[in-house]
């Protein structure tokens, strides 16, 4: 299984490299290091959100509220910044992470304690979060001139020529890799999603595990909320509208099974990068951005078909197969 996953990631990596080579053949500038950094930075929010979404999907849930969480947290920290421009960035980051985690925990509690299907819960909270932004802001925008320089400057500050936003994405990848592979919680994500019944018999608390997945997803969404608002220097009700679907798409392309229990940090990262490269390359090769939707859509279907193929024939009851044959 691990070999299969690795090879799936290898295929995705090969696809990304092939794509880059194809573009480089006509537009060598696209693969210049500075442009690659730009593409990676541009994809960073997607990467961070995909990591959180991966945790949730692993536990056989889905979090549709990530983009709304991002927008709400972004609005709150932007308003906080206009009210207290001297608040240090570290405090802003802490607020964003904490608020995001609380919003994620709301999803988690509803799924855990009330046993409502995750798609319904997060569809509801998605709408509620968007509504809250409107209530908080009265529908007004917060623009660049209302934000402090340190607030907007943080994600763009460069270390070794790479913006902070990209470094945070890298840090998130490393952190999640450790959580997933090396903590009992990460293991529980796989067990709960792979077979919830067996997980119960093993003494795992399925609801609690899912709760933590939602909380991680929420915290990462909150973090991204600040980074997003600061990077684009604007906050309003509809920022990142529909972005949750792109996040789910990145996970699915990255080989994370929507049925839970299968997936990896590398997959989520590569899935997000694939979408990021496509998105950034299309304007360069002068293809309408509408094609981007068609390409992402095709990539999703190909990825899901691939997943279905590779999981077929695995662990089926012999008698049932005999039933089909006769």
């Amino acid at each position: 299984m691990t070999a299969l996953l690795k090879s799936r990631e290898a295929i995705l990596l090969a696809a990304i490299l092939a794509l880059l080579a194809l573009i480089a053949a006509r537009f060598p500038g696209f693969v210049a290091p500075s442009n690659l950094v730009r593409v990676f930075t541009d994809t960073s929010p997607l990467i961070i959100l995909a990591l959180g979404q991966m945790c949730v999907i692993l536990t056989r849930c889905i979090d549709l509220s990530v983009a709304a969480n991002l927008a709400l947290t972004g609005m709150v920290v932007a308003m906080l910044n206009t009210a207290a421009p001297d608040l240090p960035v570290a405090a802003t980051l802490a607020v964003a992470l904490a608020l995001g985690a609380v919003l994620g925990a709301i999803n988690g509690v509803l799924v855990w304690k009330l046993d409502i299907p995750p798609i319904v819960v997060t569809l509801g909270t998605m709408t509620i979060f968007r509504g809250l932004i409107f209530l908080l802001s009265n529908g007004k925008w917060i623009n660049a001139h209302e934000m402090s320089a340190s607030f907007t400057g943080f994600p763009r500050a460069e270390i070794l020529g790479v913006p902070m936003l990209a470094w945070i994405a890298i840090a998130a990848v490393l952190l999640l890799a450790v959580v997933i592979a090396r903590t009992p919680l990460g293991r529980a994500f796989y067990a709960v999603g792979g077979n919830p019944h067996a997980a119960v018999y093993t003494g795992l608390n399925v609801g609690r595990t899912q709760f933590f997945a939602f909380m991680i997803s929420g915290a990462l969404a909150g973090l991204t909320g600040y980074l997003w608002v600061a990077r684009y220097s604007v906050a309003y009700v509809d920022i990142a509208g529909g972005f949750e679907l792109e996040v789910v798409a990145a996970c699915v392309i990255g080989g994370i099974s929507i049925m839970g229990g299968i997936g990896s940090v590398g997959g989520a990262l590569l899935g997000a990068l694939f979408l990021g490269v496509v998105k950034n390359a299309l304007p360069v090769v002068d293809i309408s951005p509408f094609w981007q939707l068609a390409i992402s859509g095709s990539a999703i279907i190909i990825a899901v078909a691939f997943n279905a193929q590779s999981s077929r024939g695995r662990g089926r009851v012999i008698l049932r197969r005999a039933e089909h044959r006769t």
């Binding site: 592979a181 018999y201 003494g203 608390n205 695995r314």
Partner: protein, 515 residues
């Protein structure tokens, strides 16, 4: 053991009216298992034939052959004397054979009328479903079996008994000649069972041939006209009910040569580790009390649905008992979740490995260490080397032959998956291990290994509870057996008194004075 096979064969009816359906010398094998070997069965119009046999006797396989789900390897199926072949389930239903299963296969969200006519609904001239005619005909069918069910209600709003009636109406709607009832009373109340008997009488009067599968002797003697007994996939005997006694039937069912060799054990139980007093559950079981000693194997025998697994699930914290106490090693234990049970030293290896035991997508070693992660991690981080060591130790003890511990569990055979599931529990170092049907559905070689291993565990002082529906397994492995029936303990039988007859009697609720 008066009924020998040859003699029994001769008791097959010769004078009865021609059978509607006859199975002749049917053999069906699955990889590694012969489910049916040269069996015969005849169903006559207007008569109820009871198919009797222990679990694993081949009853369900026969049902699946009759309904076209399996095709036999050898032998012929005759319908009204003519040999037929069922390529698919539709062929069987076209031939007028229909089955009403333990869990009825109907559609909860559709109405009664839609359920009755799904697949063959009356059409209008335009090819659309003629709802009005469908409802009238459904009404007529239900009336013919005296079922007062509104044809417009959705199925999910009906009780199990009413669902059975709908299933039967559906059977009649396709003009079934043969109705197979597979443990139809398993989930019914006393009153509903009486109604079912009345219905069976009506179906008989309409000339239907009925195959009635049941473990309950009182039912069989109440409604069957003929019996057929299978044992281990072989035909043992058949004849009119009037010419057979309960004793003779029990003997035909269980009288077997002991083919499986069970490991020899020194039986020297130690201190009491588990003491259960008055365990009760609102719907599943009542007043369950027993004790268990170190080094002892305690068998739980009973029919499917007798409440054995439910008791164990309560003991393991999956469900909560409404009353009763459990003491582990002399101290009262509150078990509200499986994690608490594991910490208290009780582990439960569930019957259904696929849904309850194994996580197929995870590697073998991760399956083994899953309940022991507290021990294989330090400062909240997992130590892979420690995990591998633990997994290697316990899979090694179970003689697991797997290429690599990091391959996915789903790639292993059923027997090996079972070993991994057991290894997982042993790695938690339990005091009491509950094995629910530990050898169900695994090949003979793995079976022997599991038995061997159970004996070893007991010898090491572990207390073992073994739920089993296989009489030889109980006889061969258990020091003591508790027989459950309908949620209560029907009997506790100690080593020397264990016999197949006693187990079957108590499980089926045959009173002693009926002998």
């Amino acid at each position: 053991m008066l009924m020998q096979n040859a003699a029994a064969t001769d008791t097959r009816p010769r004078t009865a009216p021609a059978p509607v359906v006859a199975l002749d010398a049917i053999t069906k094998t699955f990889p590694g298992v012969t489910a049916l070997s040269d069996v015969s069965l005849e169903l006559h119009p207007g008569e109820v034939t009871a198919l009797v046999g222990e679990n694993g006797a081949g009853k369900s396989t026969v049902v699946k052959i009759l309904t076209g789900i399996y095709r036999p390897d050898h032998g012929t199926i005759r319908v009204n004397g003519a040999p037929v072949q069922f390529a698919a389930a539709q062929d069987a239903s076209r031939a007028g054979i229909t089955a009403i299963h333990q869990e009825t296969v109907l559609f909860d969200e559709l109405t009664v009328a839609e359920n009755i006519f799904i697949g063959h609904a009356p059409r209008t001239r335009a090819g659309l479903i003629n709802t009005r005619r469908m409802r009238t005909r459904a009404r007529a069918l239900l009336d013919s079996i005296d079922a007062e069910i509104d044809v417009g209600v959705r199925l999910r709003d009906l009780g199990i008994a009413s669902k059975h009636l709908v299933a039967i109406a559906r059977a009649l709607s396709i003009d079934a000649q043969v109705v197979i009832m597979d443990e139809p009373t398993a989930a019914l109340s006393h009153k509903e069972i009486q109604e079912l008997y009345a219905l069976v009488e009506r179906l008989k009067a309409q000339g239907k041939a009925i195959l009635f599968i049941s473990h309950k002797f009182d039912e069989i003697f109440r409604i069957a006209d003929r019996y057929t007994v299978f044992r281990d996939g072989r035909f043992v005997g058949a004849g009119p009910m009037a010419e057979v006694t309960e004793d003779a039937l029990v003997r035909m069912m269980v009288g077997r040569s002991v083919e499986t060799i069970f490991p020899a054990r020194a039986r020297k139980p130690g201190e009491i580790v588990l003491q259960v007093e008055g365990y009760s559950h609102p719907t599943e079981f009542e007043d369950i009390s027993f004790s268990l000693r170190e080094g002892e194997i305690l068998g739980f025998y009973g029919l499917v649905g007798a409440g054995r697994s439910e008791v164990m699930q309560a003991l393991f914290g999956i469900t909560r008992p409404s009353r009763g106490t459990a003491r582990i090693g002399g101290t009262a234990a509150t078990i509200r979740a499986p994690a608490q049970a594991i910490r208290a030293g009780i582990v439960y290896v569930p019957e259904d490995r696929g849904t309850q035991g194994a996580i197929r997508g995870l590697p073998i070693f991760q399956n083994v260490t899953l309940p022991s992660l507290r021990r294989t991690s330090r400062h909240g981080f997992l130590k892979l080397a420690e995990e591998f060591r633990l997994a290697r130790e316990y899979t090694g003890r179970l003689d697991l032959r797997a290429a690599a511990l990091d391959q996915a569990l789903g790639n292993l055979s059923g027997g090996n998956q079972q070993k991994v599931v057991i290894a997982k529990w042993l790695a938690t170092r339990p005091r009491v291990i509950i094995l629910d049907e530990p050898t169900k559905g695994i090949d003979i070689g793995s079976k022997a290994a599991v038995h061997e291993f159970m004996a070893e565990l007991a010898a090491e002082g572990l207390a073992v509870i073994m739920i089993s529906s296989e009489i030889p397994e109980i006889l061969g492995m258990a020091d003591r057996a508790i027989v459950m029936r309908e949620g209560r303990i029907a009997a506790e039988v100690a080593g020397g008194d264990l016999s197949p007859e006693i187990l079957v009697r108590h499980a089926a609720g045959i009173t002693q004075d009926a002998q």
